[in-house]
């Protein structure tokens, strides 16, 4: 699989306090990466560095192109942690918000093809019914689904999502993660997702990235389960619990020899 995101020795400090140090990894096309780690560990900063929203040291390549020269932003969909809506009423409809996700050219007008793409994205996220509603008047959960449609409207090859499910109810969350899983498995969309909701999302995730000032771990779920570095950070029980939440019907590679599995299953029972 070709590399779609490559980071080399990234460093970022805020007011001389290191936030990220020596971060290197390589995300391949089709990966579904769950980014976990403690609060303040630098997860959001890492995504902002990848999107060019923060400037740090080191090298970032998107689809093999250095970030500074990267122009094909329509290949990347982004959903931030916070909704952009402020207290003041921004007079813009949900449909217009989704439209912002399409590439914008100087002086360009909205075409029929643009609107068709917008409606398709809104259908996917079940937001078509309130296309004409003022974005500010929607509930936080509805706003989040509209923003997901905005991230999807350009048919991106990479989706970068920062704790997207926080404001969603249980039903919307399930729909949301099923949609991400479908995009990843059926359309090969690469996904980077910051989450604390490891149980729900883990059904689809193919890799874990544990970020705490640096990339402590990056690998598959079963590698995560047996990583000494992760065990050192989380403790073997927590490490196994997280992995088991992802493998409701799976089997531990160590089988019956795995005392941690027995421990975790005992606790769950």
């Amino acid at each position: 699989m070709p590399s779609v995101i490559k980071a080399e020795k990234l460093r970022f400090a805020y007011r001389r306090v290191p936030v990220l140090e020596n971060v290197s990894f390589d995300v391949q096309s089709g990966d579904y990466v769950g980014i976990i780690g403690p609060n303040g560990g630098g997860k959001t900063t890492l995504l902002k560095l990848l999107l060019g929203l923060e400037q740090g040291a080191g090298n970032i390549f998107l689809f093999g192109t250095p970030l500074a020269q990267f122009k094909a932003w329509n290949k990347i969909g982004y959903l931030a942690q916070k909704s952009p809506v402020s207290q003041s009423r921004f007079p813009i409809s949900a449909e217009e918000v989704v439209l912002m996700g399409l590439p914008q050219r100087l002086g360009s007008a909205v075409s029929r093809a643009d609107l068709k793409q917008v409606h398709t994205a809104m259908q996917k996220t079940h937001t078509r019914d309130y296309a004409g509603t003022i974005f500010h008047d929607l509930s936080i959960g509805q706003q989040q689904r509209v923003l997901l449609a905005r991230a999807l409207v350009s048919n991106p090859e990479i989706l970068i999502l920062d704790e997207p499910s926080t404001a969603l109810d249980a039903q919307s969350r399930e729909m949301f993660f099923n949609l991400l899983g479908e995009l990843n498995q059926q359309h090969g969309v690469t996904i980077l997702l910051i989450t604390h909701d490891t149980g729900e999302v883990g059904k689809h995730i193919s890799k874990f990235m544990y970020v705490d000032k640096t990339v402590v771990f990056f690998g598959t779920k079963s590698e995560f389960c047996h990583s000494a570095a992760v065990a050192k950070q989380l403790g073997p029980f927590a490490q196994h619990t997280i992995d088991h939440l992802h493998n409701h019907h799976g089997h531990c590679p160590l089988g019956e020899d795995c005392t941690e599995c027995a421990h975790a299953e005992g606790k769950h029972a």
Binding site: K48, L51, G52, L53, K71, W73, N74, I76, Y78, A80, P84, S86, S88, R89, F90, P91, I92, S93, E96, V97, M100, G101, L102, P103, Q104, L106, G107, S108, I134, R150
Partner: protein
């Protein structure tokens, strides 16, 4: 009742005032939504430096103020970006610097005189034909800029980080917005005076935001409110022999009050 329209100086004042009020209202929509409402206030204080330099060097206050206010506006953006502080704090810093340098230079120029008071409180009826033409050029620039940058501006106002990920040159768009606003502010100080410029940038957009359901409605309504306030203000000023700058802003405030009441009634 309309006899005041027969005077040449009133005609020039009305034309220049309407052009600059519409330009300010359109620019103000984006400043208000970007939470940079007080940008006009900061710029107007810097205008005082421009006027003081002009009085010291016997040059045109309008032409002297334009580059000074533009530099100050770029300074506000740079301070916000480099030091990662809120825009209002950056505006406060540059505004204080502009006001103090302006007052210092005014003292060096021999203190307050009639010319300076005219700039502080506005003297729309002394607008020259060339200044009125400049107001026309400003409005044309604003309209062309809106046509070209409309989607960029709306995206950058709504969600700046996301706009950046769509390839929108957010910093350039912001810079162009504040540069054009700088020129509008300088031209507006002849209309309503340095003290009241920011009201022209803030009140019509806020009133329009209360009543509109689409972004284009906001722009149209804000432009109409700006123009109506100038016409109403000059008429009241002429009829009751009261200062035109303050009257224009009071008409703006009446419109805002009406919009507020209408929005409350309509909402229920």
């Amino acid at each position: 009742m309309l006899e005041f329209l027969s005077y040449g100086f009133v005609q020039r004042g009305l034309v220049a005032g309407t052009l600059v009020a519409v330009a300010c209202a359109l620019l103000g929509v984006f400043l208000v939504l970007k939470r940079l409402s007080l940008m006009g206030d900061g710029m107007s204080h810097v205008c005082l430096t421009g006027v003081a330099v002009a009085l010291l060097t016997s040059t045109s206050p309008v032409y002297m103020s334009v580059p000074i206010v533009m530099a100050a506006s770029a300074g506000i953006l740079k301070i916000t970006e480099k030091f990662k502080i809120y825009g209002d704090a950056a505006i406060g810093i540059v505004s204080a610097a502009g006001l103090s340098v302006g007052l210092l230079l005014t003292a060096l120029a021999g203190g307050f005189n009639t010319d300076l008071l005219g700039y502080l409180f506005g003297s729309i009826l002394t607008v020259s034909a060339s200044e009125a033409a400049l107001c026309g050029v400003l409005l044309c620039v604003v309209l062309v800029g809106l046509k070209l940058f409309y989607r960029y501006l709306v995206s950058a106002c709504f969600d700046e980080p996301f706009a950046h990920t769509r390839g929108v040159p957010v910093q350039t768009v912001n810079l162009i917005l504040v540069m054009i606003t700088s020129v509008a502010v300088v031209l507006a100080f002849k209309v309503v005076g340095i003290f009241l410029i920011s009201a022209m940038l803030i009140i019509p957009p806020v009133a329009a935001l209360l009543l509109s359901r689409t972004f284009k409605q906001v722009l149209w309504l804000a432009a109409c409110f700006g123009a109506v306030s100038v016409w109403g203000g000059i008429w009241f000023s002429f009829m009751f022999n009261i200062p035109s700058g303050a009257t224009i802003i009071l008409v703006d405030l009446l419109i805002l009050l009406g919009a507020f009441v209408w929005s409350k009634v309509y909402a229920h």
